[in-house]
């Protein structure tokens, strides 16, 4: 029983990163990324007032770091904290999405 519970706990983060997000919510987040993040970072994420968010530009950062910046913002810059608007799963998904290069300009 205890082993089972342990396994369950281990499995939880995996389930979360595989994202409990619905396809509709993922589509909304993609729109948010290109339209609203895009108002500073460019709708193709190639940069604007804020830096580029392409996978090349983010090379050297890991998911945890990107997620932390999205969640908390960067004090002293216009990058706001998105924690008040997005769940940690959503932030995690966005960070992975950026690093995967799937949102890079075609």
């Amino acid at each position: 029983m205890r082993i089972l519970l342990g396994l369950l706990i281990l499995a939880l983060p995996v389930l979360a990163t595989a994202s409990g997000l619905s396809a509709a919510r993922r589509a909304e987040l993609t729109n948010l990324l290109h339209q609203d993040c895009g108002s500073c970072h460019g709708s193709r994420l190639t940069g604007g007032l804020g830096p580029a968010l392409t996978s090349t530009a983010l090379a050297g950062m890991n998911t945890a770091k990107v997620a932390r910046i999205i969640a908390n913002g960067r004090p002293g810059t216009p990058m706001p904290p998105w924690k008040p608007l997005l769940s940690s799963d959503e932030i995690q998904w966005l960070a992975q999405r950026l690093l995967s290069g799937k949102e890079d300009p075609k």
């Binding site: 339209q35 609203d36 500073c40 460019g42 190639t46 604007g48 007032l49 706001p80 608007l85």
Partner: protein, 391 residues
């Protein structure tokens, strides 16, 4: 009765105008930017209809437009450094250059002969001949001692064949005099405040004001008296209150002037600031729905329309200038990005990005007059801007 040769001449004229059977002026035309698809729609503001679609304009996130003084041509400034001259009557691209890596906006000179573009990368301003788009001047925005270049924001035209702009990273305002195009002259004003994010010029072309993101305040330059330097105004307007997160930068395009007052967006506060134009002090802080993005006066100055940053961007509020308070709240739809008044203000066009449409309202009755389909519409720019300083 039209004689044979006269009919032939008329036919030629029609052909010369792109084969259109009817002649038209350009004064009631405008452009609607479709930000994700690299297109712009030519619209007719009298008949509230779409006339044509212009594609191939590149990355139009944050695109802006200025017009030649004959209102024949529009200049579209794209994010990817593209500068496109659109022939509004033939409804096609006349000329296009990619002049920088990452751009933010542009302006046209007082005499209409020069078009200036402000770039993030490489940081600076480039000036082109308005008719040919041939390069005229390159003004890199160097600052500090290490040869770094600043992103440039808030570029406007000013009387005296000048352009004025702000250096985001450097905290400077530069005045570029192009009276002698072969010898551009720059006057620099340093230490204007942290992170100027945009700038505006009053409609008379006298005052340039940069909004600051890094502090509560604005930087004011009197273009009649450059020797007096830059003055800080509205210092500490947040009065030490904790600023709220800003999910979209306000824009200072346009200047809501009403009698003795000017209305500007606060940064980090859900307020519109009312500024006394005589001494540049705050007269009132009007509480509004969210972080204001555009604060634009109807051309008669009696009402001011305000839209808001994400996530409260489904709303527009209208401020009654006599009473300095919100008199009306509208819900046009998901992601209201921009508002543009007809030249004398009887109608306003509103882009609703995520609903893929542009709505036209009667500004007295607030009745919706029309809805035009558009893919992720953002900026709306009418040709009447051709005759207004700073637009």
């Amino acid at each position: 009765m039209i004689s044979g040769w006269r009919a032939a001449a008329l036919g030629l004229l029609a052909l010369a105008l792109g084969g259109c059977a009817t002649l038209r002026g350009s004064g009631d035309l405008g452009l609607v930017i479709e930000r994700t698809s690299g297109r712009a729609l030519i619209v007719d503001t009298t008949h509230r209809s779409e006339l044509a679609e212009i594609s191939g304009l590149g990355d139009l996130s944050h695109a802006t437009v200025v017009y030649s003084r004959d209102e024949r041509y529009a200049y579209v400034f794209g994010r990817d450094g593209g500068l496109t001259q659109i022939d509004m009557l033939r409804a096609r691209v006349a000329r296009r250059v990619v002049q920088g890596g990452n751009s933010i906006g542009g302006a046209i000179s007082q005499d209409g002969s020069l078009v200036a573009v402000s770039n993030y990368v490489p940081g600076g301003v480039k000036v082109f001949a308005a008719d040919t788009l041939q390069p005229v001047a390159d003004i890199p925005a160097y600052y500090g001692t290490e040869g770094k270049r600043s992103k440039v924001v808030g570029l406007v035209d000013a009387p005296g064949q000048r352009f004025v702009f702000s250096l985001y990273d450097a905290g400077e305002i530069w005045v570029l005099n192009m009276r002698d195009p072969a010898h551009p002259a720059v006057r620099r004003f340093k230490d204007i405040g942290r992170l100027p994010y945009d700038g505006l010029i009053t409609p008379d072309g006298r005052y340039y004001i940069a909004g600051l993101f890094g502090e509560d305040g604005m930087a004011l330059l009197d273009l009649w008296h450059l020797d007096r330097g830059v003055r800080r105004i509205l210092d500490g307007y947040g009065r030490g209150e904790r600023a709220l997160p800003v999910y979209k930068m306000p824009h200072l395009e346009g200047w809501a002037i009403a009698g003795d007052y000017a209305l500007v967006p606060a940064v980090g506060y859900h307020e519109v600031l009312v500024v006394n134009r005589r001494d540049w002090t705050i007269r009132k802080r009007i509480p509004v729905h969210g972080q204001p993005v555009f604060v634009i006066a109807r051309p008669d100055g009696r009402k001011v329309w305000v839209n808001f940053a994400h996530p409260l961007n489904d709303t527009i509020q209208v401020i009654d200038v006599e009473r300095l308070r919100v008199e009306r709240t509208l819900k046009p739809g998901k992601a209201v990005l921009h508002m543009e008044f007809s030249p004398r203000g009887e109608q306003v066009w509103v882009s609703v990005r995520d609903d893929n449409r542009v709505l036209v309202y009667d500004t007295e009755s607030y009745r919706q007059l029309a809805a035009l389909p558009a893919e992720n519409p953002s900026g709306i720019f009418f040709a009447a801007r051709a005759h207004r300083t700073g637009l």
